[in-house]
């Protein structure tokens, strides 16, 4: 079975532009989370979606938005890009976001490397 897939793998944008990142969860997984990982740091939580509903949002500005589709895939959108948005954006899926993560580890994709010039 395929793991979590993300596209594109690499992306170069300039300040002020908009970007859309995509994620397909593992088949059967209904919960998708997005994380931002700046070079040299650990991942930071951005959003979690389950059954197309937002279940939580991290400390990120309104320029960041996301959605989940009926097939459980997800998009992360970032508007008015800043240099500081340069990072690896990771998507993670898990079986059922309504259960405690105590019983189900998150499975991560390889991420999208976003560079802002």
């Amino acid at each position: 079975d395929a793991g979590v897939t993300q596209s594109p793998t690499h992306l170069i944008k300039t300040r002020g532009q908009h970007v859309t990142l995509r994620c397909s969860p593992i088949s059967g997984h209904k919960s998708v989370s997005w994380y931002q990982q700046v070079l040299g740091q650990g991942p930071q939580f951005i959003f979690q979606y389950y059954e197309k509903e937002e279940r939580g949002r991290g400390n990120f500005p309104d320029r960041f938005s996301a959605r989940q589709f009926p097939n459980y895939s997800s998009e992360l959108n970032v508007n008015a890009l800043l240099l500081g948005d340069s990072a690896l954006y990771l998507c993670a899926s898990s079986l059922d976001g309504s259960l405690s993560l105590s019983n189900q580890p998150q499975h991560f994709g390889d991420g999208t490397r976003l560079s802002i010039l």
């Binding site: 991942p43 993560l101 105590s102």
Partner: protein, 114 residues
């Protein structure tokens, strides 16, 4: 902000030696997880230890948890070159009832020298 801190930030050892990494966190947890990240790749789940557990093993990995000290350690025995990676601990934090997010530390960069 980061929940936990890994120690050391970087560790370099010879192949065959044991590697120990530590993680401290600030708030109460339901569980703590360890992940590995190879350069430029996503995170791979290694092991999950619940708050009522003190030690857990998986192959060459041994994780301990001390909730009174809010700390955990990851031991990799008989290290191999393929173990070269960054290692992160992650704790859970509730979003809404039943849903939780992962809060990661800054990671330990482990280098295994042949």
């Amino acid at each position: 902000s980061q929940q936990g801190e890994e120690d050391p930030q970087a560790l370099s050892i010879q192949e065959g030696e044991n590697a120990t990494m530590n993680c401290s966190y600030k708030t109460s947890i339901n569980n703590l997880q360890w992940y590995r990240q190879n350069s430029g790749r996503g995170l791979v789940h290694l092991i999950l230890i619940r708050s009522n557990e003190r030690e857990k093993h998986s192959g060459r990995l041994r994780v301990t948890l001390d909730t009174s000290k809010k700390s955990s350690s990851l031991l990799i025995t008989a290290s191999r070159a393929a173990d070269t990676a960054s290692y992160f601990c992650a704790t859970d934090k509730e979003l809404i009832q039943g849903a939780q997010k992962l809060v990661f530390g800054q990671g330990t960069r482990l280098t295994i020298n042949p």
